[in-house]
Homo-oligomer: 234 residues x 2
């Protein structure tokens, strides 16, 4: 007799189950919407029971990030011998897939402090970075070029995918009303200024609203790869 939305009959607690359940909850309502108590309820368990398997909320979030990135780790191991451009394409698309499938969770991957200061989101595990660097170096990159590529790549992925996640996440996310303060004469307070005083924005609004993210991603990725290619053969 099941009582909540969880499994049929309390399939036993484990760190893995907890982390997966936390990811589901984040996918549904964002990282802010995750509380130990709510997570416990989803698992038919008291909040304090979770502490046997996670050291606290921070550790739990760390686990969620690690879970998200475990797919990437696995995928990279298999395709290590590719040409570097194919390899980088794989990394890029794999991370993009993760971001697309978990738009509310990806900001965690992007903004949580990495374990070491020289680890940069979203490629933030030593294992992945090691694979990344050795793949490039095997293909003829110098040490400095490989490290430079790691940085450019991180920055590219972070910017592009965080923006995509933000857009996709907003579609699912709740709508926040900032509460009117009584003034009725002042036009719509869209942060600062009404659309009427921003003619170009008003005119281009439909163009601004178009979703070109897929195409933008591919083009920017090509540009980055070309740049690396030029660096390499120069």
């Amino acid at each position: 007799m099941s009582k909540e939305t969880a499994g049929s009959s309390s399939p036993r607690l484990s760190r893995d189950l907890i982390v997966k359940s936390a990811l589901e909850m984040i996918d549904r309502s964002g990282a802010q919407g995750l509380s130990m108590r709510a997570l416990g309820q989803q698992l038919n368990v008291e909040a304090m029971s979770l502490y046997r398997y996670v050291h606290g909320r921070e550790d739990l979030l760390e686990g969620v990030v690690a879970l998200l990135m475990s797919d990437l780790t696995a995928a990279l191991q298999k395709e290590k011998g590719e040409h570097w451009q194919a390899f980088l394409q794989l990394v890029a698309h794999e991370v993009r897939r993760i971001a697309s499938e978990h738009p509310l969770a990806f900001p965690l991957v992007a903004t949580r402090h990495p374990a070491a200061p020289w680890l940069r989101p979203p490629l933030r595990s030593i294992e992945v970075v090691n694979t990344f660097l050795s793949a490039l170096i095997e293909e003829g990159f110098t040490d400095a070029q490989a490290v430079g590529a790691y940085r450019s790549f991180s920055s590219f992925l972070l910017g592009q995918l965080l923006l995509e996640s933000s857009v996709r996440g907003a579609q699912t996310a709740p709508v926040e009303e900032p509460l009117d303060e009584g003034d009725a004469s002042i036009p719509h307070r869209d942060g600062n200024l009404s659309l009427d005083e921003a003619p170009e924005v008003k005119r281009l609004r439909s163009l601004l609203s178009e979703d070109r993210s897929e195409e933008e991603f591919e083009v920017s990725l090509e540009v980055l790869l070309d740049r690396l290619d030029r660096e390499l053969s120069q």
Copy 2:
């Protein structure tokens, strides 16, 4: 007779004072470290008093973001007639300055949901976007090119500056101990894997730790501007 670290004699409350004080607090201890009660204490006032001027914590953070970006708005108004490359350079460096001066606050600018879905961080006010678009269009960009440039630029700034802020912020920020769980045989748990099993990372650690952010930023900016230039004249 002053009692706290605030001003000499309670210089009166106002939204502006509150928002500025909040920014100081965030600069010191991050957005997580900002609480209404602590902010009230810093202003020699009860937490609830703030609610006369701010609609709540969310609104307060919105105000902090707006304050951070107000410098940019002002700077852009003055240099609107420049060549587009100079204009974009100005925007880029101005935003970078803001990010550098407030590494713990910049993530707010980068990750808070914008007022409209087509407003992309970190250029997230209608006023700034309007200036941005009209400046480019006056210089011969088509509508689509201008919007494309806005997107590329946003993505570039977001990725680059969020990484920089993260690094700078970590230097100031507190150190988190994830708590050992008793196992003594397993090597250092740097997220997933020890350094000993990641030879390339170990070998390149000093290279990875070097701070090349200034130079990277300039180079990537140049690349982006070149790409836009090519698009423009094609």
